[in-house]
């Protein structure tokens, strides 16, 4: 079923789901939505499974024409979305008609918006996922970002009820300053005590080199004891890699699967969405927590999503 025509793609709009698992052993990163929270809630709003393929829209400029009556929801960043030129509320399911124009007109807060649609976007799965990994041209629409003139299909589905709305207390506010909780390791012992203190007590700034692969930060360098090089090992999501220049790089969904630089810490999974919404010049601070605290944070996060799911179903 033809549902969208891309009038303007914007700088980077890709099809994503929750990622591709089992292939990192072959060098293929998981990819998937950068902001797990906004992505999952978007799908819940339109009556989908949490994993249904949706659009990840980076910054502004994206414009789409509806080819079908259906229900959509926009979550994540506030990119000043509009429906036929009028204000389009976010975090809410919205009925749209064939011929309607959805546009993202400006950058108010955050960095990545998600456009979910009833049924989810229909593209062939590559290695069990619809997620686009542009560097190796895998998944999504021919492995690439959307272009002008692309037609996107969706799966047939019973249309969701429109008017479902996420309670305001569950809608994140995207500021210019974020705090990321980290668990130290795997190579924190490669850093001096001063190096670790610098890491945990300094303000860092998101540099211009920030994308789905990773965010390079600027700020005080971390001091290594002797070397920044290790025998290459795996790289988890959120790993804070520190090469010889001492500046942290947080590795994200499109990261290289293995690497030979020290990793001082890992950002906990529930804080990745905050980083996904950060832009160049935003400030980042790190806070150390332990495994037990991280588990509690994850339980609360999942509990919150379940609460929203129940509220939307009523």
């Amino acid at each position: 079923m033809q549902t969208f025509e891309v009038i303007q793609p914007g700088p980077l709009t890709t099809i994503q789901d929750l990622g591709r698992y089992g292939y990192q052993q072959y060098g293929v990163p998981p990819s998937g939505a950068m902001d797990n929270y906004a992505f999952r809630i978007g799908n819940l709003l339109v009556g989908n499974d949490e994993i249904a393929a949706s659009l990840e829209i980076t910054l502004f400029g994206n414009q789409l024409r509806m080819l079908q009556d259906t229900v959509i929801a926009v979550t994540g960043a506030d990119l000043a979305p509009a429906l036929n030129g009028d204000f389009l509320p976010r975090w809410e399911s919205i009925p749209v008609r064939r011929g309607d124009i959805i546009s993202f007109t400006g950058l108010k807060s955050g960095c990545r918006a998600y456009l979910s649609v009833t049924g989810g976007i229909n593209v062939p799965k590559v290695m069990s996922s619809a997620s686009t990994y542009t560097r190796a041209r895998i998944g999504g629409l021919d492995g690439r970002a959307l272009r002008k003139g692309d037609i996107l299909l969706t799966f047939e589905s019973i249309p969701a009820l429109s008017g479902a709305r996420v309670p305001s207390e569950y809608i994140p506010k995207y500021g210019c300053q974020i705090e990321l909780r980290v668990i130290l390791g795997p190579q924190d012992n490669y850093f001096t005590e001063d190096g670790i203190n610098t890491f945990l007590q300094s303000d860092y700034t998101v540099s211009a080199k920030a994308d789905r692969m990773g965010y390079c930060l600027e700020g005080p360098p971390l001091q290594h004891r002797t070397t920044a090089d290790i025998i290459s090992d795996g790289i988890p999501l959120g790993a804070v890699q520190v090469p010889g220049d001492g500046l942290p790089i947080i590795l994200l969904v499109d990261r290289q699967t293995t690497g030979g630089y020290t990793k001082v810490a890992t950002v906990i999974s529930v804080d990745i969405p905050k980083l996904a919404q950060a832009k160049p010049d935003d400030k980042v601070r790190f806070q150390q927590i332990n495994q037990d605290e991280a588990q509690i944070a994850l339980q609360e996060y999942e509990q919150q999503i379940q609460t929203i799911r129940h509220q939307l179903n009523h």
Partner: protein, 243 residues
């Protein structure tokens, strides 16, 4: 080299490293892959995937299904000698490669750097079976060991912006193959028509950790023919089981 007891290292709240040692060593790498196999056979609920590298295994898990404490316990029980898994016999995969010319523009430099003739470089490069320690970095890229120090050459000072897929190169004392077109600083000595990574193939990566590869010198005509049969799906990769 090898630690007496494997070490658990933190990889955040959804991943954990099991590190077996701190060296590039075939036996150590073998332990990593045996442990990966043991985890796969044990089918531990909540384990999402594992990434074997030179000397450690990264295990991704879903804490909503298994807590890190339970996971560590399950992993420890798999470290007992009686659950050790036998690996399959390694395969030797033949990589047809055209050396020199436009395919390997740096081969003369490599030869001159090592006081060798170009044909001696080819002879040395094709005489070794290279162990594949791990696949990683980008899709299908093999980390190889075993190159003769006699052809070691430093990287380019300024990396090339574009290197064709299949390029075979040397960087320091390592040799490797670029699976996809990419920028890079390796000295290029040749190119293979084989496709190291193909998302529509199962498995998508041609090479697997634990196997070996051997380069075989071919002519530019053979390169063109093989490339064609790879493209239309009629090429079968030559491989033999190693005893």
């Amino acid at each position: 080299m090898s630690y007496e007891e494997p070490r658990f290292l933190a990889g955040g709240d959804k991943a954990i490293f099991i590190e077996f040692g701190d060296a590039i060593d075939l036996q150590l790498n073998c332990r990593v892959r045996k442990f990966k196999l043991a985890i796969e056979k044990a089918r531990i609920p909540g384990v999402i995937e594992t990434v074997p590298t030179y000397r450690s295994l990264l295990v991704y898990f879903e804490p909503q299904q298994i807590s890190i404490q339970e996971l560590r316990k399950a992993l420890c029980s798999l470290m007992q000698p009686q659950v050790e898994r036998e690996l399959l016999k390694p395969k030797l995969i033949w990589i047809p490669t055209v050396y020199g010319g436009e395919y390997g523009p740096d081969i003369s430099f490599v030869a001159a750097h090592n006081n060798l003739s170009v044909s001696e470089v080819i002879q040395i490069h094709t005489s070794t079976s290279y162990p594949i320690y791990m696949i990683g970095f980008i899709p299908g890229f093999p980390y190889l060991g075993g190159m003769s120090p006699g052809i070691a050459t430093p990287r380019l000072e300024t990396p090339r912006a574009k290197i064709p897929a299949g390029s075979v190169g040397i960087a320091g004392n390592q040799t490797g193959i670029y699976p996809a077109e990419s920028p890079g600083g390796w000295r290029l000595i040749g190119r293979t028509p084989l496709q190291l990574f193909d998302p529509s193939r199962e498995p998508s990566a041609l090479l697997q950790a634990g196997d070996y590869l051997k380069f075989v010198s071919i002519t530019p005509e053979e390169f063109t023919n093989i490339k064609e049969s790879v493209a239309n799906g009629t090429y079968s990769v030559k491989e033999t089981i190693m005893e």
